[in-house]
Subunit: 234 residues, 2 copies
């Protein structure tokens, strides 16, 4: 009995440590996005280089957390909710790693913009990126507390990010039409905009994993209203 | 002893059935991509609608295989190689589902191109898409046989897809510059090209999961040469 409690205590400590690592990874990814946005906005090449250098840290964290998850499944044979937590974590870190890639891509665009006058095309990315960072911040917060109500709220925010993205693309298109020699560089900025818009989709994925963990129900491919219904069910 | 063999026989049958489902899902995704390409090429709206309708089948297969994987972990508590297989499958189906999304996106572009003369912009997508489909076909084949040599070969093919993609984008850019009123539609075609290029990255991911399963080594974030070295090690 005592031994059982001891083992289960160790198990909980291990699970808790993995969760903490996910949040650390999430914090790093959030910082990477924020630095990439600043690098683009202020044309800060040194900061852009740092973002690219640090991308391997995000990758290494993904690999290491993945290993911890596989180890805990093999060693502790978790069932039910514990197992769902491990599966939710394995999926969450994949999305976090891809968000890290977005930051690195944005940093490359900053480096590949030698002409200062081209910075005007980057201006429209800032509010878009701010929204994406806010969404990431909120979903990490929901993850820390495993709060399904908060997760469902973040899930809904993606529509706003999509509208903002559409507006950015329309604006960039008019720049393209005004002067066709800007097309190659504006395309780079558009790729960044699209990558940022995808950050919202990845945050939605993480919301879905939180709900999967807490409610034991897979809500991927459901709309916001159907997700609300799942949440209301006991 | 007999009972043990019986249970292990059942377990193997369950694992085998999940693997078969992954291959069925892969086959469906390959077909979706192929139909989407034809729909774009021949401006076949009916076929495009079918691709969009069938996307939910791909999604449902992902959810169902995911459930089988969680169930087998909880019930059978697989260790070592068996566990790696289940983890590899959980990750593989995420990538397959996203490739399915690419097919649906291409189908939408076909539907949103009412003007027959715009079809000329779609022509350049065909060889790109053919390459991506071939890569998917080969990686599914490597998955079926869990053949790491074949996986490493497919992994290398992505460079060729990237070069083809760059060529397509350059060509589409010249169309944009020739007549700026084509910009909005050409952008749609460019998004498709980019999505197809990402199919290659997702096939590379699946190659990495195959190597992870067989060799027990996580080769994500390694270049092709380092992967070769992992393969040579016993």
């Amino acid at each position: 009995m005592q031994l059982g409690r001891h083992i289960s205590g160790q198990f909980n400590a291990e699970l808790e440590s993995i969760r903490t690592n996910v949040l650390t990874m999430g914090g790093l990814v959030e910082q990477q996005l924020s630095f990439a946005m600043q690098a683009l906005h202020k044309q800060d090449i040194e900061l852009a280089r740092q973002v690219i250098r640090d991308d391997h840290k995000v990758n290494a964290m993904e690999v290491s957390i993945d290993e911890s998850c596989t180890r805990i499944i093999a060693k502790r044979q978790p069932a039910a909710k514990d197992l769902r937590l491990v599966i939710a974590i394995i999926k969450t870190i994949t999305d976090l790693e891809r968000i890290g890639d977005v930051a690195a891509k944005m940093a490359y665009v900053a480096i590949e913009t030698p002409d200062l006058k081209d910075r005007k095309f980057h201006v429209s990315l800032e509010p878009l990126c701010r929204q994406a960072i806010a969404m990431l911040h909120q979903v990490l917060d929901a993850f820390a507390r495993m709060d399904i109500e908060a997760a469902a709220e973040v899930h809904k925010l993606d529509d706003r990010l999509d509208s903002e993205y559409e507006a950015v693309i329309r604006q960039l298109m008019t720049y393209m039409m005004e002067d066709t020699k800007n097309i190659p560089h504006i395309l780079q900025v558009m790729w960044s905009a699209r990558a940022i818009e995808r950050v919202g989709d990845r945050c939605q994925n993480i919301c879905e994993y939180i709900i999967y963990f807490v409610k034991g129900k897979d809500v991927r491919h459901l709309d916001d209203q159907s997700i609300e219904e799942v949440l209301r069910k006991e």
